[in-house]
């Protein structure tokens, strides 16, 4: 993945520790894209729908979302539902990144249209592996936009 890949990553998670770990591990595997961190579902929706505090934003063309499920207030599943329900935002790749491996929850997220579902592994090496897959996915997502393949 190249440094000039303009895709930015929107990381939504109410746990500071988790966002910090994701940032560090992303860096460690060489993903240096911009990472925007939000801690509530409401902020995440404002961000992608370019309203409220983010009224000045323009589109979501170069955005990829990492979304935690279990958040106070509007939870990740609801955020996912609204994003996938709107033509404006439907195309944003959404990766559910959560602690649960409950099959019912996984099925619910896929039914709502999430692109991939990654269980936050407690085992750090597994976590890094998950992030690697994520990086791989990022490059795949980048390809159809006609950008040069990463070196």
């Amino acid at each position: 993945m190249s440094a000039d890949n303009k895709i930015s990553i929107l990381l939504v998670d109410d746990d500071d520790g988790h966002t910090e770990l994701v940032r560090r591990n992303l860096r460690r595997v060489g993903i240096n894209n911009e990472v925007v961190t939000l801690t509530t579902g409401a902020d995440a929706l404002d961000y992608v729908f370019c309203r409220g505090e983010y009224a000045g934003r323009r589109g979501n063309d170069d955005l990829l979302m990492l979304l935690d499920i279990n958040m106070p207030g509007i939870d990740g599943v609801e955020v996912l539902r609204q994003i996938k329900a709107s033509d404006e935002t439907r195309k944003i790749p959404v990766i559910m990144l959560t602690t649960t491996d409950d099959p019912r929850e996984i099925n619910r997220c896929y039914a709502l249209g999430c692109n991939i579902y990654i269980t936050k592994p407690v085992d750090p090496s597994a976590f890094i592996e998950a992030i690697r897959r994520l990086g791989l996915l990022l490059s795949v997502v980048a390809m159809p936009r006609g950008r040069e393949a990463p070196p």
């Binding site: 988790h18 499920i69 279990n70 407690v122």
Partner: protein, 545 residues
Amino acid sequence: MSKDEPTPRPRGIFGHEADEAKVILEHMPAIAFVKDRGGRYLFVNRLFETHLGVTAEHALGKTDHEMFPVVIADGFVAHDQSVLRTKQPLMEEEVALHGDGKWHTTIAVKFPLLDTAGEPYALCGVATDITDRKEAEQKVKRSEAQLSEAQRLAHLGSWEWDMRANTVTWSAELYRIHGLDPAQFLATFDGFLDRVVPGDRERVRSVVGQARRDKVPFEIEYGITRPDGSSRALRARGQVLSDGAGEPVLMTGTAQDVTERKALEDELVARSRKLEEINVSLERRTAELAEKNQEVEAFVYIVSHDLRAPLVNLQGFARELELCCQDLQGRLRSVTLPEGIRQEVDGILNDGMLSALRYISASTTKFQRLIDALLMLSRLGRQEYRLEEVDMNALVDTTLDSVRQGIDTSGVRVTRDPLPNAKGDTTALGQILSNLIGNALKYRQPGRAGIVTLGGEAWQAGPHLNHYWVRDNGAGIPAAAQPRLFQVFQRFHPALASGEGMGLAIVKRIVDRHGGTIWADSEQNAGTTFHFTLPAGRPVAGGIP
């Protein structure tokens, strides 16, 4: 006989005037006879002949004793002699075996025939057969006895109140119900009211008064007090009879002792109320259980999400620190430090920080495994089962194949007897087998060649159940630990194999959900047999040898 010709008094009874008397007697619609003083028949009429089955020829000149059984003859003669002695007529009932072979009762009038001196020279008798009337009387008596018996059995008495005379008549049973002697009872309406318990008295008076005024039937329940102080519950019905002028004159009816029935009814009511209470409390318990279940679900959710979240941090940042330490070590190598200080810093990094981090890592890993095990157990309870016919032989063989390598390396000899089919969820039953077989393979007695046997049979103690077992000659389970055998997180031989101590808890859960039971016979250092029952499948063709 001529009117103008005065006739002399007859000298003997068979004079010519007497012939007419004879004709009268002959045609009389009653039995008639004449005997001399000695009891010899001088005359018998036609009805005598037909009734007593003797001809006049046979009877004349004979005594009763010559013709009838002595007991009967004695009775006749006794009456005859009384008439002759007193010279007075006598009316008596007499019983005799008649010509039709049946006993007849007659009412006989006997009177003496007196000569001019006033002395009886013969005796005349006229008897009417009253057998039919007698039988009717007896029938009435029997009916009355039956009615009385029926009243006694039904605890149902009858009564009559003559309102003009204000007299009350009770049947024997009604006296019995009241525990009264006719002598103790003032047989008036007020006398009756005195027996009614004070609390019911006004109501009874008013209901009966109303019925009398409106001339309508009534029904009422009330309590009475017996002379011994005990009380009974009565249900009375009555109706009013009026005279030609429409004036009520008589009230008749029944009164039944319904104490026992009322007690039963009360008990029934009490019981159904109790049942209702139980039902309500059951419903409450069910609701509570459902609520508890939801709490457990919520708990599982918390375990799944909220407990894991901090674990991710613990493990992740422990890893970060570890990487930092390694980084520091690398950098230390490239700088020059006094030897003593380098050793000290190395010690802090290795023995201090890194070994501490390893403990944290190991503990969080264990924590995660425990959470995963709990989650799995809770999911087992919710998982939906597909009940089907399960060939246990095939299932055991599949399970054995999956652990073939373990069997071969451990040298355990596994044998399987033919097993009856079960009915259950194939996957879940497979989990039972793999856990039990796995345990049998893992927990061997060190230094002894392992033998594992699987068997099964129809379960005698419960219909529609099969009994299966997995027997080993392994390490056994200490007696003290056996009560905890099927609880979660129980490890009995941590030295022999690793695990979360969840296997048997899971097995029990599966067996329970299939409606079976599981238990173990175990002796330390000798071996363990796990027994479990499962719903029986179809019998295998040819049967189990």
